[in-house]
């Protein structure tokens, strides 16, 4: 066997080893055919390859199907992992969690103060709206002029009118007395 022939054997066997199913170029096919006519060992090699490949083909009778439960498990896990949540909101939640997880009392005290302040603000607003507070007689005009809400208070004090000094001395405050006497 000449060196040239051996080299051709190697090339052909390389092609055979590398080829995918029925994916040979026509040039390669003709090269192989030409070589096979004269080379018994390559013929045997090709034969071996072909029947080994055929032997490895998946047997149709061997009905192996992936379990149906596998698919269900995977889908539910996928939904769990990729649950759609707003990343910004999640970050915010994480920060809040972190804040409350600190053991420094200052943060807790601050949080408590804010909560108490909000509580007071809410109740003081509802107290004025309901009008349950007793206002001295001198300020009755002030009381009358309160519409709704703290921001809309309009004060129209007319201290020139004598009737505005209060219904009795107890009701009259020292401030109104001072204003009326000075004027």
């Amino acid at each position: 066997m000449t060196n040239k022939f051996k080299a051709e054997c190697q090339i052909v066997q390389n092609i055979l080893l590398n080829m995918k199913k029925d994916h040979l170029l026509s040039a390669e096919k003709s090269r192989i055919r030409k070589h096979m006519k004269d080379c018994r060992s390559c013929r045997e090699f090709q034969e071996n390859m072909n029947y080994l490949r055929a032997g490895m083909r998946v047997d149709e009778k061997l009905k192996i199907e992936p379990r149906k439960s596998t698919r269900q498990v995977l889908v539910s896990r996928f939904r769990e992992v990729h649950r759609k949540t707003d990343p910004g909101f999640l970050k915010f939640l994480e920060k809040i969690k972190l804040l409350f997880s600190y053991r420094i009392p200052l943060y807790q005290a601050l949080a408590a103060t804010v909560v108490v302040a909000l509580f007071i603000l809410f109740f003081s607003q509802s107290y004025i709206q309901q009008g349950t507070g007793k206002i001295p007689g001198a300020l009755s005009t002030v009381h009358d002029s309160i519409d709704v809400g703290l921001m809309d208070i309009r004060i129209n004090l007319n201290f020139m009118d004598e009737n505005n000094t209060g219904r009795n001395l107890k009701e009259d405050s020292s401030l109104t007395r001072y204003i009326t006497t000075s004027l």
Binding site: Y51, D59, L62, P66, V75
Partner: protein, 197 residues
């Protein structure tokens, strides 16, 4: 919802994987449809014909994709990456089996390996050759079995197998050449003689 999934029929595996990373369920199911059966057969043969174990391994493999899709490198081919994970799973299983075998001190175990193919015996009459080939395959070393299955069953190229196993292409070629020769000679009597070229 199958009609919705049809839009991914022409999408490449790598693109599908990108959608999976973004949380697209349909893309994941398309990948599952494409590879589940193939991989099941792969595991079945790599794990000595143990059907139940092959099913468990398949589920584990896809769970890994669900939980850590970000591990996929888009520069690589998806099938290569998938078979690399499958290969590692099998390697771990071999290691586990080997440890168990050593602990049990049962020399019969090595004999059992070749006989433990659950379904193969049933087909001995009709598929004598296939059965004999599988038995031969189970007797091979794990590495030889792997490259043989990847080449002849999964039809992966030498380059792809090289990426999966980390072996050099030259080494792979010579091993495959040797294996083809050896198995060809061993199974000569059962040779049904096929010709494709």
């Amino acid at each position: 919802m199958n009609f919705l999934r049809k839009k991914y029929k022409l999408t490449s595996d790598e693109q599908l994987m990108m959608f999976v990373q973004q949380g697209n369920e349909d893309a994941f199911l398309e990948l599952y449809e494409r590879y589940s059966k193939k991989l099941l057969y792969y595991f079945y043969r790599m794990l000595f014909g143990d059907h139940e174990k092959a099913q468990d391994f398949l589920q584990d493999l896809f769970l890994k994709i669900v939980e850590k899709p970000e591990l996929f490198d888009h520069q690589k081919k998806f099938s290569t990456w998938l078979y690399t994970i499958a290969h590692n799973q099998c390697k771990n299983e071999y290691r586990r089996l080997e440890i168990r075998r050593r602990f049990n001190q049962k020399e019969k175990d090595s004999g059992k390996f070749s006989e433990s193919g659950n379904g193969m015996e049933k087909y001995l009459d009709t598929k004598l050759f296939q059965s004999a080939l599988e038995k031969k395959l189970y007797k091979l070393g794990p590495e030889q079995r792997l490259i043989f299955i990847l080449r002849f069953q999964e039809d992966l190229s030498i380059k792809e197998i090289s990426e999966i196993t980390g072996m050099k292409e030259g080494t792979l070629k010579s091993r495959l050449f040797y294996l083809t020769r050896k198995l060809g000679q061993d199974l000569k009597d059962l040779n049904p003689v096929y010709s494709e070229v």
